[in-house]
Symmetry: C2
Subunit: 414 residues, 2 copies
C-alpha cells in the first residue's frame, strides 16, 4: 500500500504555520509499514487542489489530506475531492448529528454555513471528531483508492488518526503491526549499531534506528495475523536488545512519546525518592523539563537557579574560596551546589549543573562546552564531567538530558 | 516571480525530521512578496526527484531545494538538477577551496568523496556556507529559470538564505522590499484589527498580521526602487501603529526573530536593573527562557523553583499561615514569593508565578488555568491575576510570556 500526504492551506505556503501534521502522519505511516514517496502542500485554490488530487491518486492508493474542513468558502478540500470522484456532496444526517453535538458541547451558536461541515458524498465513511466540529472522512475514489480527510488542528488530527484511521488501515491490509520503541541515552548510533551486529537482522521482526540530539531510538516492529502473534515476535527481540545494550536503555514504550524526563520522574516515583536541582548554565531548564511530566509534583521538590557566580554562595553555601580556587566551572563547585541543594530542600537526590554554554567565555583550559554535573545522594556526592560540542542551545539541551539520566540512574542503585 | 520549495530527503518522508526549512523559506519568501503555490517533499530517489524538478520548473521561476548536498551516494540533489539542465557537474576550484577550508576549520579528515561537494555545473553561482561543508548554489536551468540548492541543516540553511539568497532575489526583482516586524503582547488579534481600522490600509506600504500563542505580530512592508525610499514608506506606518496601540507593542524588529525574552533582557540592560525569579507551576521556565538570550548573565541573577508547597516557606519565607489562609494559588502567596526572591538575591526586580496548570486539582473557586504573578520592585509588591485556558503546556507557556512582559514593563516606569 502506498500513501501520499496532501496538506491544504495558504497559511502553510505563507509560512505562518509549521507543518507538524506531515511529520506526525509520516511517522505513524512508517510505523505501520506503509510507504510514502511524495508529500505536497497546496493553498486554498480549487484548480490547483484538483490537479494535486489527480496527481496524488495517480501515484498512491491512499491520499491523506489535512486542513480545509472548516465552514468557510476557503474550505474546499471535501468539495474538490468529490468533484474528482465525480460525485455530489449531500447532507449526511449522522454527520449533522456529530456537528450539532459539538456545538452544544461548546455552547456555541451554530450558523447555516456550519452545515457544510456535515456534507459528504453518499459512500463516505465518516469519522467522529471528539475535539472539534469537523468530522473526518474516508472517501472512496474508485479503483480501490481512497482519500482520507483529516482536520487541520494537530489536537484534532492526531487522536483521529490513531484511533480511527490506523485501525481502518490495518484492517484493510489484513495484518496487524506491533511496535515497541526502545529509547537509548549515553551511547552513540555507531556503537549501538556495532553491538547489535550479533543479532541476525530480519525483516520481521525488524529493528530501525532514529537518532535525535544525544539519543538513539530503536523501533522494533513485527507483522502478523493477530496482535498476539506479532507480540510473540517483537518482545523477544526487545529483550535481546536490552540484554546486549544494558542500562543505556532508559525506556521501552508502546508509542514514540517517551522521554528522559518521563523516565526520570517514573524512576523517582518507583524508588519513593525526591529530587532538588541547582542550575547555573541551564537556568532552570532541568527543573522545568521535569515538571512538564504530569504528576511530577509528588517527587520534584524544587530547586535553585544560581546564574550569577555569587548566588552559588548566597543560595547554596558554595564556599567563595572554592569558586576562587577551582573556577566556577569545576567538579568541586558542581558537587558543592548539589550538596547545598540537597541539604536546603531535604531531598533524597539533588542534581546540579555548572558550565560554559558559550558563545563567549571559553579558555584553553575550560573551553565552551565544558559542563560539570553534581549528584548528591544518601551515599555521598559525585561529579560528572561532560565535554559537549555545538551552540548554546545544543549544549544546554544535552546538559539537561545528562542531568535527567543521572537522576534516573541514581534511583536504580539503592 | 513565482517560487516553489522542493525538500529532498527520505528522513522527511519517514517523519524522522520535522520540515522546519519549508516554513522558514516560506516566511522569508512571503516577506519578499514572492508567491508560492506548491511545496513538495520527495525522498532520495533519482527518478522521482527528476520528475519533481520538471513539474516544479513547469510551474515556477525559482525552485528552491533543501537537503541532499552531502558527500554520500544518497545525496543526489545537485546531480539530478544538472541532468534536468542538460549539463555536467565539474570540480569547481572555488568550491573546492570552500570545502577544504571548512575541513581545516573543523580539524576533520577529508575523504575523496567529500570532493563531490565541490562539483557543480560550470555556470552555477556558488554560495559560501560558513556553518557546514556543503556550498550552496544558484543553478541556471534555461528560459530564465533557476534552481537554488540549500543545505538541509537549518543552522546552515537559514543564514545562507538571509545573507546570500535574499539579496540575489531582490536584485533580480529590481526592487527593494523593506519590512519591520511589530510585536504585540497583551491585546488580541480582533482588538488590534479594530483599533487599526482608522489607518487607511494600502498595498504599499502593507500591514499583515501573524498570530502565535498570546501574541500578534504585524509585518509592515514597503516596496521601492531603493532601500531609503522603502524605509520612507514603512517607518511612518510603524510610528502610526505604535501610537495607536501603545505599550502593548513590545518590540519593532528588522527580522522576525524577536521575542518577549529578548525584550525583557534588553529592557533590564537598558534600565541597569537586575532580576530574580520565584516559580511554582512554571518550574524554572521563566528563568531558563530569559537565560536563553545571550548576555542575560549581566541582568539575570538567579531564582527559586518552589514546586512543592512547603518549599515556598523554606526557600522564600512565605508564611505558612498565608498559604493556609489564602490558598497556595493566591495573590498573597505570589506577592510573598516575589518579595522573598527580591530580598534573598538583592535584585531590583523579582517576578513570581503560582497557579494551576492542570489537568487535575481545579475547584470551582480556583479552576485550572488560574495563575497569579507577583512583581516586586523598589516601589513595592503587586499581584497580577491571569485566567488562562488550555492544556498544561499552553498555561505554562502563557504564564512565562506574561511574566516576561511584566518584567519588561517594570523596567519602563522608573
Amino acid at each position: 500500500m502506498i500513501a501520499e500526504i496532501l496538506c491544504v492551506g495558504t497559511e502553510l505556503l505563507m509560512g505562518q504555520v509549521l507543518n507538524t501534521n506531515a511529520q506526525f502522519i509520516s511517522r505513524r505511516l512508517s510505523a505501520l509499514g506503509i510507504s510514502q514517496y511524495h508529500q505536497t502542500v497546496v493553498g486554498d485554490n480549487a484548480e490547483r487542489l484538483e490537479e494535486a488530487y489527480r496527481l496524488a491518486l495517480s501515484r498512491a492508493d491512499v491520499v491523506i489530506t489535512s486542513g480545509g474542513l472548516g465552514p468557510t468558502v476557503d474550505d474546499i478540500t471535501k468539495r474538490v475531492a468529490a468533484k474528482v470522484a465525480g460525485k455530489e456532496l449531500v447532507l449526511r444526517p449522522e454527520a449533522e448529528q456529530m456537528v450539532r453535538e459539538r456545538f452544544q458541547q461548546y455552547h456555541k451558536h451554530m450558523t447555516m454555513n456550519n452545515m457544510s461541515q456535515a456534507m459528504f458524498t453518499e459512500d463516505t465513511i465518516l469519522m467522529l471528531n471528539p475535539n472539534g466540529t469537523a468530522p473526518g472522512a474516508i472517501v472512496p475514489m474508485g479503483e480501490g483508492k481512497v482519500v482520507i480527510h483529516l482536520p487541520g488542528p494537530p489536537y484534532e488530527l492526531q487522536p483521529m488518526f490513531i484511533d480511527q484511521v490506523e485501525p481502518w488501515l490495518q484492517k484493510r491490509s489484513g495484518q496487524v503491526l506491533v511496535s515497541r520503541y526502545i529509547r537509548i541515552f549515553g551511547m552513540g548510533e555507531s556503537e549501538v549499531d556495532q553491538r547489535l551486529q550479533e543479532l541476525e537482522m530480519q525483516s520481521n521482526p525488524s529493528l530501525s534506528p532514529y537518532c535525535s540530539l544525544g539519543e538513539v531510538q530503536l523501533r522494533a516492529t513485527a507483522c502478523a495475523a493477530t496482535k498476539e502473534e506479532a507480540l510473540a515476535l517483537v518482545l523477544p527481540l526487545v529483550d535481546k536488545v536490552k540484554s546486549i545494550l544494558g542500562d543505556v536503555v532508559y525506556a521501552v514504550n508502546e508509542d514514540d512519546r517517551g522521554s528522559l524526563a518521563i523516565s526520570a520522574v517514573e524512576a523517582l516515583k518507583k524508588a519513593g525518592k525526591t529530587v532538588a536541582t541547582a542550575e547555573s548554565l541551564t537556568g532552570g531548564l532541568i527543573s522545568s523539563t521535569m515538571v512538564e511530566v504530569p504528576g511530577a509534583s509528588q517527587v520534584v521538590r524544587g530547586g535553585f537557579v544560581t546564574y550569577q557566580t555569587d548566588t552559588k554562595t548566597i543560595l547554596l553555601g558554595v564556599p567563595a574560596e572554592t569558586i576562587e580556587r577551582c573556577n566556577v566551572v569545576s567538579a568541586e563547585v558542581a558537587m558543592a551546589m548539589a550538596k547545598g541543594a540537597r541539604e536546603k530542600l531535604g531531598t533524597d537526590i539533588a542534581v546540579s549543573a555548572t558550565g560554559l554554554a558559550g558563545p563567549d567565555g571559553g579558555t584553553p583550559e575550560i573551553p565552551v562546552g565544558t559542563v560539570y554535573l553534581g549528584l548528591a545522594t544518601q551515599k555521598g556526592v559525585q561529579a560528572i564531567r561532560l565535554d559537549l560540542a555545538g551552540n548554546r542551545d545544543r549544549i544546554r539541551t544535552l546538559t539537561v538530558k545528562h542531568a535527567l539520566d543521572a537522576v534516573r540512574k541514581a534511583c536504580l542503585d539503592n
